[in-house]
Symmetry: C2
Subunit: 421 residues, 2 copies
């Protein structure tokens, strides 16, 4: 079989599994998930040995990538623990979302059902393999995984453990499949499989997402960049603003809900930049400033200072770099966010409720904050228990995407002989 | 400007309009809708003259197409009436779907917002022009319309009236745009405009839908075929079954929620086929029968009788043609439906609640019926007030797609300085 035929074969097998998976009870799915967690723990040695192979090939990679790639007993235990957490989550499938009757007497129920077959295309971190497979399974979907080539051995070992657990737990064969071929053409063939694959979720950088949407015939929900912005209003509590900016920039700079830009109202620019310079110096953050901020930060003798280029305002630095701008009104801040932001997570810090409500209404982002860190854009922090990622799309799922977003729905209609006249 | 540049220009203008449209109050949108209805009535003569031009070119078309295309005073009045009905519908934008607090004190609201720019690609019927534009507008979206070449003059005249009304009613310029170029390449350029177009809804035949999904970089919600099926169980009230089959097949055979196949349990095949033959003969319906049904219908000397081919079971006849099969259990009926149906609207007729519930659970279609005609799959019949069409996809919207399905959502989060630890 050539690669295209192999992917088609995976699609067919997943489709068949999906039909049976969709009908399983919560108890059946939970039993299988527990068996999968057990098998991950039982397969620790095999998984670590496989991971070792990936790491040997990873010499050319950055320390950050190696850190994402590396597994140890603690991380494998956390993986298994994550699976058990999903057991505790409510099963969305079969839930009646709404129910009503029509004047002619027919009763309509809108009920959640599985989506079917979900393709997950991702990079580096091997824990995505379990997270994605387990959430898809709980929502009654078959999963086709396509991880990065740098973690292929780890992913193969993890999927083998998951498949053994799934078999012991009574899931249909082929409920969880992995594309073992690391050729990028495989993504193309997967994305063309309408009729077999119902949804593809690409999680990763620009090139990966382009590779999917350029060719996809299948619906796609993108998990793309976060260029997130905090606006410090003239009526902000400046100490609160400083804590929020510090948290959103430095707690974990490489994630999508970290901020890239802070905008400061002109009337508070001097006192806020003083506080910010002290704190950012301490955190070793490079500042890229617009003309007004640059003048003040130069006067403060900030060491890691550059002038912001036009491109900086729309760049996801994923690092200890922060663009700093001064604006003269909340409206200007909103304009900046709409123009340069990625509509992921944006925040206003202010004491003025009216200004805040204008911002919350007019900023068109998946998550808009008033006086809280953008780092809360996360399925766990939202109370969803777990997430498959953060959708940067507007259709079906926007923002943190969890079990409910991994379902579709159907209408069930009960009558007693009604016909349309 | 070449065609691609023209479409890009439309996309840019629509994007700009969408930003302002999304912020309008219900009152502002309703005022504009009423002005649009008035302008349609005031432009009757121009619309009829344009329609006359389309009809002159339509000699080569089928009588059914000409009927769909033809406008008269009554139809134009109905169009304007349809617009006024949308004014009365609740505005989904700004509605808080769910609201909760987290242990750290942040309060999260999930709020409906407009999607943005929606492209509607459709065929023949000019009334889709108003229906689509008006529903998109009410949900705060900018609309780019692309009707069929056969109705181009009518569509242009209707859109001019809508645009005049929109301007008088205070909508942003470019809220409603029409692609005047009937070159099919225009669809390609539209479907590639990610960043400017947020969603494309193709409504029409297989070729039209393929033309969109083959090239789309933009999310698509397909409005495709309906191969709908009624299963008459051995415990069916046969008179009820006859009325449901008659209604679902003959009341309006050219629509997507009409049925194409009836499956009959072997134990009631003889009495049901007798009733069916009489009624279908009267309604001039051609029957395409499997081996067992053919034997019986031949014995009954049914005049419009053919043997069903394999292809017939998955064909949307859109005409007075009905495939007839005999099955030996509800499970066989479900298997047939899953294999040959299009997962649109399917029905079981039975008195047995257990059999019915099995069918309702296991048939994976957008709408599944127990003892009611499949013709109720319709936004109006569901109580949604109006519909933009029937989604045959599983993501974002499935089945009748109305105002709510023309929205996205965002999360609004209010805190008092929370940061993530």
């Amino acid at each position: 079989m050539n690669l295209q035929q192999q992917i088609l074969d995976l699609g067919r097998r997943a489709r068949k599994a999906a039909r049976d998976l969709a009908k399983l009870s919560s108890e059946q799915k939970n039993a299988a998930l527990l068996a999968m967690a057990d098998e991950i723990m039982a397969s620790q040695e095999a998984i670590l040995a496989a991971n070792e192979k990936d790491l040997k090939r990873a010499d050319a990679l950055s320390p950050a990538t190696i850190d994402r790639l590396k597994l140890n007993v603690e991380r494998i235990t956390a993986m298994a623990g994550g699976v058990r957490q999903v057991v505790a989550l409510a099963d969305p499938v079969g839930k009646v979302v709404r129910e009503w009757a029509r004047p002619n007497g027919i009763r309509i129920s809108k009920m959640r059902v599985a989506i079917g077959v979900i393709g997950i295309v991702y990079e580096s971190r091997p824990n995505v393999t379990t997270d994605a497979a387990v959430l898809c399974t709980k929502a009654g979907n078959a999963t086709i995984l396509r991880g990065g080539s740098e973690s292929i051995h780890s992913n193969l070992a993890i999927v083998e453990a998951l498949q053994r657990g799934a078999a012991k737990g009574g899931l249909p064969a082929d409920s969880i499949l992995l594309i073992a071929d690391t050729d990028r053409e495989a993504i193309k063939h997967l994305a063309e499989l309408d009729g077999y694959v119902d949804l593809i979720i690409p999680r990763g950088g620009h090139a990966l997402i382009e590779a999917v949407i350029n060719v996809a015939r299948v619906p796609v929900i993108k998990h793309s960049d976060g260029v997130c912005i905090v606006y410090v209003d003239k009526e902000a509590d400046l100490d609160m603003a400083l804590e929020i900016v510090t948290n959103a920039k430095t707690q974990r700079p490489a994630v999508c809900n970290a901020i890239e830009t802070v905008l400061i109202h002109g009337e508070v620019a001097t006192p806020f930049l003083q506080k910010l310079a002290l704190r950012m110096e301490e955190k070793k953050v490079e500042l890229r400033a617009d003309a007004r901020a640059f003048t003040q930060l130069s006067a403060l003798e900030y060491t890691r200072l550059r002038r912001a280029s036009e491109a900086d305002w729309s760049t996801e630095f994923l690092d200890l770099v922060l663009a700093v701008g001064v604006v003269d009104s909340p409206s200007r801040a909103i304009e900046h966010i709409e123009r340069f932001g990625s509509h992921h997570s944006d925040c206003i810090v202010t004491r003025n409720a009216r200004t805040a409500e204008q911002f919350l209404r007019d900023v068109d982002s998946a998550t808009v904050y008033w006086n809280a860190s953008t780092r809360f854009t996360d399925g766990g922090e939202f109370g969803f228990g777990a997430e498959i990622g953060i959708s940067t799309d507007r259709l079906h799922a926007r923002g943190p995407m969890a079990l409910e977003e991994l379902t579709s729905y159907k209408y069930v209609i009960r009558g007693d002989g009604q016909i349309r006249t």
